[in-house]
Symmetry: C2
Subunit: 339 residues, 2 copies
DNA sequence: CTGAAAGCGCTAACAC
DNA sequence: GTGTTAGCGCTTTCAG
């Protein structure tokens, strides 16, 4: 393996000079810097990052922990994180927490012992950040808050936009609107259900019928189970507010089985369905700002990595509802692969 | 930061013993090992991986380089890699090459200087593996071969199954079948087009009309452009063989615009469309073994990381076509999120 | 089975 | 500006 010593010898300078040249921020005479670069090229020198990291106790790796890497929403967010990370010279280590605090914590252990420069996390209900915080590894939460911790967080405006989306169903003439949402304690699930409940209360003057608000894992399979339950009710709903893209797909699949596709039964999918046409259907989609969530989270993390010491910040990204180019759209007008 | 020295002092042993306990494979008396573990727990000791890596010159990171992390096909593959990597104690660094050799090479540089334990790569036409090979970082290629290199590779049986899929369109009564495939030089694009051409030749006794075989980037946008070209032909096709999921979606979108959805114009999408119902349509889907590709690639890489020195292996995963549970299925029967 | 000691390749004081 | 030097925390001979 070729080291700075080899390069130094060949370039006729000291190892320190080589180090200075490669670590950037240091004054080296132009002539010597050139000599170093030339020697390095000739020797095909690649700096050893582990040695550097051991010395500086830092890395250029960001850990990105998401509940489900196969969900296009998180994929898009990850992609956005990767884009800004790369530009700043960081790599992204991807971790699939599976919405499981144990697994998440396991990953946190390796992240901390790495140590990574920072972590971007979509927290689960049982998230534990102690390990990272003790060792002052910067953490920013995306999409949801971490319960009991004060860290930078960026989320979407879940409650208000859920209420707006639900109102759209009322506007379209539906009267008995159900809600399928995610697991208890998952912030997005809770907030979106709260938004739905709010809109129902506004419209009917009473809290929603408890049978109409139902929970499922954020998966198509479990969503189908839940939607079947809903449609088997003595008084089934005439519209469904689905709190994420998986549940939206589940609703459509079940309704399809029963010949009740929209507009027979109304559907709003909170979060984009994969880019594909469903032209005959009138499904309402709200576009979550997945990309912006990722960008913002990455930017905030980079600030922290660079030493920013301000108190925890919390930003809520707006989800404009209704109108062209806004948050809610007919599916066949949907742009972008999956928000 | 707490080090093995702190732990050693507290446990009343030497640093070497602590190291032996944590690096596993070493004989330490049970009593001392217990003492070490206890001390480590009390001190909340986490081994510093950079120090270890510097010493051993190895890491537990696998670089996974894919052309488009937002494509569910690659996402699923990545997920499969992550699953087997995790089990073996490895983390996955995700790299989005964007089908761009320059960007790919850039990532290869950081992978090599990391150094990562190995890399799993979906190569582009211009892939250059010299950097990794010189430094004997194991590489396995997935989904495509790397031109000009002898490395472990796992691919799907693209040509034969494309031919079979095309035959299915003939069987369904279509007569003038077009093909939209990916960029020239991208192996999957070339092989799938070759399979289509083979089936056409078989059926018509002549090579396909060159106008009917068209290329596009593997994106929905560019696919739409290509399909429009096809449908604007003086003699437009009555069926389309789309060589990947993006192009399949593109075909459906364009046909939808023109009121020509299947079965008016036949469509086969080579590679699963995202899980969503399209019941009224009769789209043929072939399911690519994305998960198996990932598993297999990861397993082969792990073998190399563990020192296997056999000559390069090449495995082709079968894509059984036709029949229940096989490669081709009606979309509304599709299982799995996106193969 | 265990400890002492020598680095892995690099950076960062510190002198010059 | 540049060279010298002392480690970063860990693994690994080598003795005992």
């Amino acid at each position: 393996m070729v080291t700075i010593y080899d390069v130094a010898k060949r370039a006729g300078v000291s190892p320190a000079t080589v180090s200075r040249v490669f670590s950037g921020h240091a004054n080296v005479a132009q002539a010597r810097a050139d000599a170093v670069h030339e020697a390095a090229r000739e020797l095909d020198f690649v700096p050893n990052r582990n040695a550097r990291r051991l010395r500086t106790n830092s890395s250029e790796i960001i850990a990105m922990m998401v509940p489900d890497i196969e969900n296009p929403f998180f994929t898009l967010m990850t992609r956005a994180v990767e884009d800004v990370a790369r530009e700043a010279g960081f790599s992204v280590m991807l971790c699939n927490t599976n919405e499981d605090p144990v697994r998440e914590h396991e990953y946190m252990r390796v992240a901390v012992s790495e140590p990574v420069a920072g972590v971007i996390l979509v927290p689960s209900p049982g998230t534990n950040l102690d390990l990272a915080l003790e060792r002052s590894v910067p953490v920013v939460c995306a999409d949801r808050h971490a319960l009991g911790y004060e860290v930078d967080t960026v989320v979407a405006d879940n409650k208000d936009s859920s209420a707006s989306a639900t109102r759209l169903l009322y506007d379209a003439g539906y009267e008995r609107i159900a809600c399928v949402t995610g697991p208890d304690g998952v912030e997005t699930a809770d907030m979106r259900m709260a938004g739905w409940a709010l809109a129902v209360q506004e419209h009917t003057g009473a809290p929603p019928d408890p049978c109409l608000g139902i929970r499922a894992a954020y998966t198509v399979e479990d969503g189908e189970r839940a939607v079947r339950l809903l449609m088997d009710l003595p008084q089934p709903p005439d519209a469904i507010f689905a709190a994420n893209n998986r549940l939206g797909a589940a609703a459509l699949r079940v309704l399809n089985e029963r010949g009740l596709l929209p507009p027979t039964v109304g559907v709003v999918s909170f979060g984009g369905l994969p880019l594909i046409l469903l032209a005959p259907l009138g499904v309402l989609i709200t576009h979550l700002p997945a990309r912006e969530l990722g960008h913002q989270a990455a930017r905030m993390l980079l600030e922290r990595i660079n030493g920013l010491a301000a108190p925890a910040r919390s930003v809520t990204l707006p989800v404009v509802v209704g109108g062209e180019g806004s948050g809610i759209d007919m599916i066949y007008k949907a742009q972008g692969s999956a928000e």
